[in-house]
Symmetry: C2
Subunit: 257 residues, 2 copies
């Protein structure tokens, strides 16, 4: 037998991270008490879907065990100045120090989801959490909570989290931009983007076994000037793709020289 | 009952595509007769691993049903000039017209693997093939052959193949470069790149359900200048990453303006 520490939780924020966390918490025994947002209509919308109370920032429920501030980085300083609580308080930002919350509560820290979260997706992806706290005790409490919503929880300080946030921008945001413009290209050219799925899956599968540095293929690393020339000729009506093509081709040639 | 058209096959070339195709063919009832290369030591090496005969370009077995020319795009014109055969001849290039083989044989075409192929990998990935031929009959024969080595075979003309080749460069070569420099960054900063696998997998999984244009997240699309500034400060010792970061951030802001 063991005792599960059921926590009363308040979410502050109404964006993608707040929405996905509220879904995750509802599938645990924890009690989501309230969703607080700057804009009451947004908090009401999210709170209704979660079946909990909505409030504005100036009426946050005082008796919770865990306050999760999931707002834009730029909104954090203001909340950190005006909000005070007795429970543990965490923010969910990759690039903000935990110390921004030093005056909010005696127990403060970070609960950072290393995943791209979108409110509008029915399925919740697997989310590794990077956590941190001001004391060992706070870290332990945040860890217990994080483990109830994810099977992958690591302790990471401000620096460590910042590095992984930067890496995440490269492997998610930048890759997704490449996928977006390639998908647009396929649509315009009436060709089937889904034919590329096996190639994409292979790219990711290999990563787990080999360093990407030994997996590079294609015209740039072969220095296949004829193919590169033909591709660029073809892309002459796509200036943004051409520019990217030249940029990456030069980079790849330089890297594997 | 049905009859399986067992073909005698010759592979011309000794690179990654030739090596993987020779593996694929050996797992079918087809008979791989010979591997021909410009450099006899390279053909011997590949032929030995395939348990078949090795030869140079000037001693190619004349009686095969299918000749697969898997050489660099730049080497294709020379072979196309000097080589003649009675069987069907195909090349494996994404950006070269099938017409380059018009004088090689009466039946000519293309067998293009839309996948990143590497000789040094034990596992053969799923490979969609784009095929083409000079007549309906040739296409049908190439299709029968292609279907014995892959479950996904589509007919695609020179234009169609060129477009998908370009798209493949973006989604494999350029993405793999992003993965390479991010992996290098994580190594130098002693942080665990594998923590990013769930994020990467999610990026690809979502593609099958949603357009990437509605899946973009991160500081650039949020126009979160504070985080962007912090990331760039952090990357000041990584000029190549900084340049990429600024390039993509500007692009993402422009795209989702």
């Amino acid at each position: 037998m063991y005792y599960f520490a059921v926590m009363n939780v308040v979410i502050i924020g109404t964006g993608n991270v707040a929405a996905v966390l509220s879904k995750m918490i509802r599938s645990t025994p924890h009690r989501l008490m309230q969703i607080a947002g700057r804009d009451i209509s947004k908090s009401k919308l999210l709170a209704a879907s979660a079946g909990v109370e909505a409030s504005t920032f100036d009426n946050i429920y005082p008796g919770a065990d865990m306050y999760i501030i999931a707002v834009a980085d730029t909104a954090l300083p203001e909340i950190a100045k005006t909000f005070h609580c007795k429970g543990i308080v965490v923010h969910t930002a990759g690039a903000v120090s935990k110390e921004i919350l030093a005056n909010v509560s005696d127990g403060y820290g970070v609960l950072y989801p290393l995943q791209s979260l979108r409110a509008n997706l029915a399925d919740i992806p697997h989310v590794p959490f990077l956590i941190d706290g001001n004391t060992e005790e706070t870290i332990a409490k945040i860890a217990v909570f994080a483990k109830t919503i994810s099977s992958q929880v690591s302790v990471a300080n401000d620096d460590e989290r910042m590095k992984l946030h930067i890496a995440a921008v490269f492997v998610n945001n930048f890759i997704n931009y490449l996928l977006t413009i390639t998908n647009d290209f396929c649509k315009k050219e009436k060709t089937d983007f889904s034919l590329l799925y096996p190639l994409l899956e292979e790219t990711i599968t290999r990563l787990k076994m080999f360093s990407p540095a030994v997996m590079q293929t294609g015209p740039a690393i072969r220095n296949d000037k004829l193919t590169i020339h033909r591709h660029l000729q073809w892309l002459s009506n796509y200036p943004e793709m051409s520019e990217l093509y030249e940029f990456f081709t030069e980079r790849i040639r330089g890297y594997w020289r």
